[in-house]
Structures are given as structure tokens and as C-alpha cells.
């Protein structure tokens, strides 16, 4: 009886809490329970959610990716640079950014797998490298149409309409102009990663690597390749996040995206606690991102001061980690501590 209660609490506790929060805010924050507000929440978590899904892939193989935030901001700057200064099309900008993300992931993977640099250190190094690198071409300035260039000329290029569509267009759903593109992208990516990790043999092997790398290698799995692929997925998803951010802002703003890393890592870690999985999973990550979104939106609508935000996020994260590591280990069985 007691054991069953604990089991239920671990399994559904987080989802119940999520639902409870939504109900609470519906009563106490006027205007919270409306389609527009719901979409706003989704929009606020779409980009961090996409990054978090990438981190989830690296967590699954027992790694970690600290460079996602800087990959996203690099993509933001790269897309702006290619359109505003190089005067390229939206398609070229998007392809450049995705290639950059995949390449960074590849380098991360090679550093970790071939050079045997510990994952946290390799991606930390990459993070610093990218933060510096993205500022070199513009000498530390933000990129916008009409900015003056080092050679004295003025940047003539503009963000193309097609590119801005990615960040600003809203699809009609029941209401006119309800659903923004980033939200659709987020949901699609979440679905794909969920299927990939949970239901394909590649995903299953990645979980096996994360749980016992040696055992996975000894059944013939190409452990190194899967690890590198995980970092490449992470890098590409981070650059997708950066593209959407650039499209929403419409300029290459160097100060944007400072919070991306911490927020997305938090979402992925909170995801461990969802459904009592006690391991990284796509559904949990999406739910974790949403949880933080709902909480912040609700608090904002109840006029909580902005500096409450980080505190609340941290508190939720700590609670989720206790859920995962303490309660789940007491349940025993699935995890052998």
C-alpha cells in the first residue's frame, strides 16, 4: 500500500503538479486560462525546449553539452551576418547555421571520443571558443541593417521576409493568427526526438551506452559513432533554436540568449522526474520546459517581480532532482544504485 503510494507519487507526481499549477493560475491570475495565454507560454519555452531536447540526446549517452547556448547565439549571429552583411538568402542562412551546428557537434564529439577530453570540459571549452568567435567578424558589435562596417561602408543587406516568417508568422488555429512557427517547430522536434529515443533501435542503443558503455560496446555497438551523433544532434538543435531567435528579433543581437544554456539544461534535468523515468527522456524534457514556462507566466501575471524567476526555476530544479535521485533510488528494482 505504502509502496504503491510512493510509486504513484513518483510516476505521476510531477504531471499532477503541472496540472495543479495550471488550475491554480486559472483561478488566481485573470486571463491565464485563455488560448492566447497558453500559446504565449508555449512560445516562451519553444526555443529553450528545442535546445533542451538536444541536451537530452547527449544526456542519454551519458554525456553533457554545455556549448548549446553559445551554439544558439552563434547561429543567431551567423544568420544575421550572412543576410545583412553577405546579403544571402534565407535558405543559405538556415543551411549555414545548421551546418555550423552539426560541425560544432562533430568537433565536440571528436574531442570527447577520440581525444578523451571529459564531456563537461570539452563542451565548456567549446562554449568559450564560440562566445569569442561569434564576435570577431563584427568586432563585438550587434548586427543590424544600416550598421557601419570596419571598411567604412554601410551594411546594405536585410533580414529576408522568408527568414522573419520563421520567427513571427502565426498559423490560424480556431482563432486568427494563433500558433507561431517556433511553437510548431518545437512540437515537431519534440515528437521526432521522442520517437527516435524511445522507439527506434538507435535510441535504445544510445540508452544502453548511457547505462553501461562497456556492455553496449561488447555486444557490437559502435559506441563512438553514437556518441558523436548525439553531440551532432545537440549542436544542430541548438542552431535551430538560434535561427528561431534571430527570426524573432530581426537583428543579430549579441546580448540575446544569455539564459538559454541554464534554462534548457534545467528543463532536461526536470524531465528526469516526469513519469518517474529517472533518466533523460524527450517527453519529460518537453514537460519540464512547459512546467517552467507555466510557472513563470503565472507568476508574471500575478505581478511577481522579475527577479523571482531564477529563484523559482532553481527551486523547481532542486525539487525535481530530489524526486529523481532520492525517491527513485528508494523504489529500487529498475535502478541498481
Amino acid at each position: 500500500m505504502n509502496k504503491n503510494a510512493l510509486d504513484l507519487a513518483i510516476r505521476y507526481g510531477f504531471l499532477v503538479l503541472l496540472f495543479g499549477l495550471a488550475v491554480f493560475f486559472s483561478f488566481y491570475a485573470s486571463g491565464f486560462a485563455s488560448p492566447r495565454s497558453a500559446v504565449f507560454i508555449f512560445q516562451s519555452v519553444a526555443i529553450t525546449g528545442i535546445l533542451a531536447l538536444g541536451v537530452t540526446c547527449t544526456l542519454v549517452v551519458g554525456g553533457f553539452d554545455l556549448s548549446i547556448g553559445s551554439v544558439a547565439t552563434s547561429a543567431l549571429m551567423l544568420s544575421a551576418y550572412s543576410m545583412v552583411i553577405l546579403e544571402q538568402s534565407a535558405a543559405v542562412a538556415v543551411i549555414l547555421c545548421l551546418a555550423m551546428g552539426a560541425f560544432v557537434g562533430l568537433i565536440n564529439g571528436l574531442l570527447i571520443v577520440k581525444m578523451r577530453v571529459p564531456d563537461l570540459l570539452a563542451t565548456l571549452g567549446m562554449m568559450f571558443l564560440l562566445i569569442g568567435l561569434q564576435r570577431i567578424p563584427t568586432q563585438g558589435n550587434s548586427i543590424a541593417t544600416g550598421m557601419s562596417l570596419p571598411d567604412g561602408s554601410v551594411a546594405e543587406g536585410t533580414f529576408s521576409a522568408a527568414f522573419l516568417w520563421l520567427g513571427r508568422h502565426r498559423f490560424d488555429l480556431f482563432l486568427d493568427r494563433l500558433l507561431p512557427v517556433p511553437v510548431v517547430v518545437f512540437v515537431l522536434i519534440a515528437l521526432i526526438i521522442w520517437l527516435f529515443l524511445g522507439y527506434t533501435r538507435h535510441g535504445r542503443l544510445m540508452y544502453a551506452i548511457g547505462s553501461n558503455e562497456r556492455a553496449a560496446g561488447l555486444v557490437g555497438t559502435n559506441v563512438q559513432r553514437y556518441k558523436i551523433v548525439a553531440y551532432m544532434i545537440s549542436g544542430m538543435l541548438a542552431s535551430v533554436g538560434g535561427i528561431l531567435l534571430a527570426a524573432r528579433l530581426g537583428r543579430g543581437d549579441i546580448a540575446s540568449g544569455n539564459n538559454l544554456l541554464l534554462d534548457s539544461v534545467a528543463a532536461a534535468l526536470i524531465g528526469f522526474a516526469v513519469l518517474g523515468a529517472a533518466r533523460p527522456n524527450a517527453f519529460g524534457t518537453a514537460a519540464g520546459a512547459l512546467f517552467v514556462g507555466i510557472l513563470l507566466q503565472g507568476l508574471t501575471m500575478m505581478n511577481a517581480p522579475y527577479y523571482m524567476q531564477d529563484f523559482v526555476k532553481g527551486a523547481v530544479l532542486v525539487a525535481a532532482l530530489v524526486f529523481t535521485f532520492y525517491l527513485s533510488s528508494r523504489r529500487g528494482g529498475r535502478r541498481t544504485a
Binding site: A215, G333, R335
Partner: protein, 514 residues
Amino acid sequence: MVEVTCKLSGLEKSFGRNHVLRGIDLELRAGEVTALMGANGAGKSTLVKVLCGYHFADAGVITLGGAAFEPVDAADAISKGVVTVHQSIDDGVIPDLDVATNLTLDRLTEPGAGLFVNDRKLRRQASEVARSMGLTMDVRTRVADLDVADRQMIAIARAMARAPKLLILDEPTSSLSASEAERLFALIDRLRAEGVAILYISHRMSDIRRVADRIVSMRDGAISGLFETDPLDYVGAVNAMLGHQMTEVDIEPVSGGDAILELNGVRLFEESPAINLSAREGEVIAVTGLLGSGTTELAEVIFGLAAPADGTMHLDGAPYRPSGAGAAVSSGVFMSPKDRAVNAVVADFDIANNMTLPFLKAFSRFSFLSERAQRQAAGDMIGKIGVVCQSDRDGIGTLSGGNQQKVMIGRWLLKASRVLLLDEPFQGVDIGARRDIGQYIRHSAEGRTTLVFVAEIDEALEIADRIIVLNEAEIVGEYINKNVDLNSLVADVSGPERPQASGPERTQAQVMAG
């Protein structure tokens, strides 16, 4: 009469229901090297851990130098004069610091040591210690830059700095080459002359021949033999360690069909002799030998985890040189590795996913897994090999050791193989599960060749058509499993008499490949 340094009487220790030490009586004398032999799980490590203060004995008395010895923890055991050098060398040294600091580290923690470190004084003290131990290296060298033998010496030198009464060496040569080992033995000779009692734990007969004054064999938590007549009865000691009760399994050995796997002139190590072996369809070969005799290395070479120093392999007549586990598996060579907790079990997965792990491709369409197919195959195998569980959804951690091992072996029986390698398949497995596994392996042996690598002779006799004995990476005996002359078999396992054994250069086999 030699002085008794340490005396154990009636020592008992249990972990839960597992009775590990069942009344150990032993005397260790000053100026004598006592070799302790025992198979995996015989209780050697537990005995050592009780002596060095990691575990408390449940019953029994230890006296050291006449006084009762009841260490409260490891530090207490050391301060009372029992010092242990553990198997993994790097537990005994701090690789990032220099030799001088390593040798004098314990003085830094003594009460009254000053706040600042006087490097010159430290080096002078360290040089003294080094000289007294016959070490010649520069004390300013970083320990990480030394070779394994030197690091081992430093671990021992550190131990000696505490002037121990009893020194315990746990498999000290397991990562040393022959010439490095010889330096260690010279050091042991010196300590013996100084009157230290030494407990030397090893499986390598060449070591034991070189250093032991007496041999104690352990089996199933009890002393199964004590040998101190000159010359020492090495065969008797091995026999007492491995033991042999008449096996109830009745095997009608088959000679097998066509050769599937052929090894020609394969040398496991640079200096070791060539191995020639032909494994035939339908037969089960047990490869047996003491720990370190090369059985695991041979399995790793066949499975592609390590490259042989020399020689060729053929699979079904075609040259076979796998680049790693993946290549071996796709050629139809499967291996169930030893130490399942480390090498085989995926703790986060349930039974079905653990079992189907190598063959996920066969259970998926367009990369999407068919859970139904996985569960069906796993369910079938659970029935065939007799895994005791509630369902294939049980977490692997909920199973007993024997049942976990059945899952790990069943994993490789899901698909037909050409060569099936089982490295220590009965490790940590109760007798019932051992019978089940053995029977099923023999039952399903048609259509492939099976090589089982076991240290225990009983296990070899229970499962094999043919038994091959390895010693120092060389085939020294071969028996058809029918009315085997056990004395001759045990003599082969313990190896030929060689006063100055020139052991092979032992290299750490690269386990992870691909």
C-alpha cells in the same frame, strides 16, 4: 621455532545469507612468505579486508605480535602494523605528485607536522627511504611518469615506511612483466630477511615458486590445504584450491564435424609461444587455466577486442581478422564476457531489452523497434534457459546473479552463431543455475562451435567435450572429456616445473574497441 607474527583462529564472516568465511585458522610467521591461493569467490579478498580493517569479523580472534588485533578501520590496522598493497597499484600512490612526496606523504598527516612543506628536507627523507628499499630513481620524478613496476615499488616503499609487522601483497605481479616482477621478488627477499611476515596472494605459479615459503589454499571460505614441506607440493595446492567433487553430469563427448574456427600460430603476447587450435562444429571446448594464464586474452583475440601478437585465424576456411566486437558479431562470432555487472548488464533495462540488445536490428523495421517481437523472443528464451522471473518486463536488477547470467547468455543464443565464446559463464552463479546453463549450452551446441573459458576444473568437466589447458599463454594439455586423468590435468594447470620462469610480457589488453 619461528616467531608467529599473526594468528587467526575461527574467523567467520557473512554478508546477509552469504557465508563467506567459515572458520579460518591460520598462522603467519615472521620472516616467511605465505602464498594464499583461491579461486574467485573463495573468500580471499574478504579475508584480506578483515585483516586490513575494512570489514569486521563476525566471530573469531586475530592476534598480532601476541596482542589481540581488532582494527576499528583501515588507518587503525596500518598504525598497528598490518599494511596492505592492493591489486590496483594506483590505489597505493598519488600519480600527480613526485616520488619524494609520495614516499613521505604519511609524515605530512602526522600531528605536529608544520604548515609549510620543506621540500629539501622532504627530499632528503625520501632519498633515505628510497635507498633503503634499493630504489634508484630521481625522487623528483612524477609518479605518473614511472613504469608500473616502479609505481608498485613505491606503493610498497610507502607501506614499508610504517615499519609493518605483516605486509599483505594482493596480486602484486598482475600488471608486471617478468623482469619487473623479478625486481619485486628481490625486494620481497629483502623484507623477508628483515623479519616481516608476508601474505602473498597470487594465482601465478611462477611467482609462487619463486617467493613462497609455504602455501595456503582456500576454497569456499575455508582453508582447504596447507603446504609447508620442502619441496612445496604445488600440484597439491592447486588441487586443494580448485577442488573436485565427482560431477553428476554425465557427458558423452562428441568429436564434432568440420572445423569452424582455426587458429594458426596465434601468439597472445610478444614473447609467448604459438597457439594452434581447431574448433569443430557441434563440439564444446573448455579452455581452462589459472587466472592470468591467458584464457581471457584468447577470448578477446577471437572476439576482436585485442589483436594477437602474431598468427592467423580462419573462420569457415576464410581468413578472419575482426577489427572489433561489431565485426566479430557480424561474422557470427559471439562472446558473453566475464564480470557481467561491468561488461554485460545494462542496469537500466528490463529483461527483454537486455536480452535482445545485440540484435535490435533484427527486431526493428525501418529502425523502429517492434516491442512485440522483442518480448516474444525474450519470452521464448526465458522459458528455454529457465530464467526465474515474473515477466520479461522485470528490471534486470531484480534478478538473482544466476538468473542475470542466464539472461546474459540467453542474449547470445537468440540468434544462430558460428562461434560462441563464453568467458567465465558460471561466475557468481549458484549450482542450480550452473546446471541449467550448462545443459542448455550442450543442448543447443549443434551448428556452431562453443568455447567456454573457465578457471574451475569442475566447470570444465561439466560442460565440455574437450578440455584444453593453458599455462603462461601456452597450450600445455588437451583431454577428451571421458575418464580424464585428473592428476595429470591439475598438474598441467599448475604448469611445468621451471625454476626461472620467463613469463610473457603482460600487456593490458585493450578491452574497448570500436
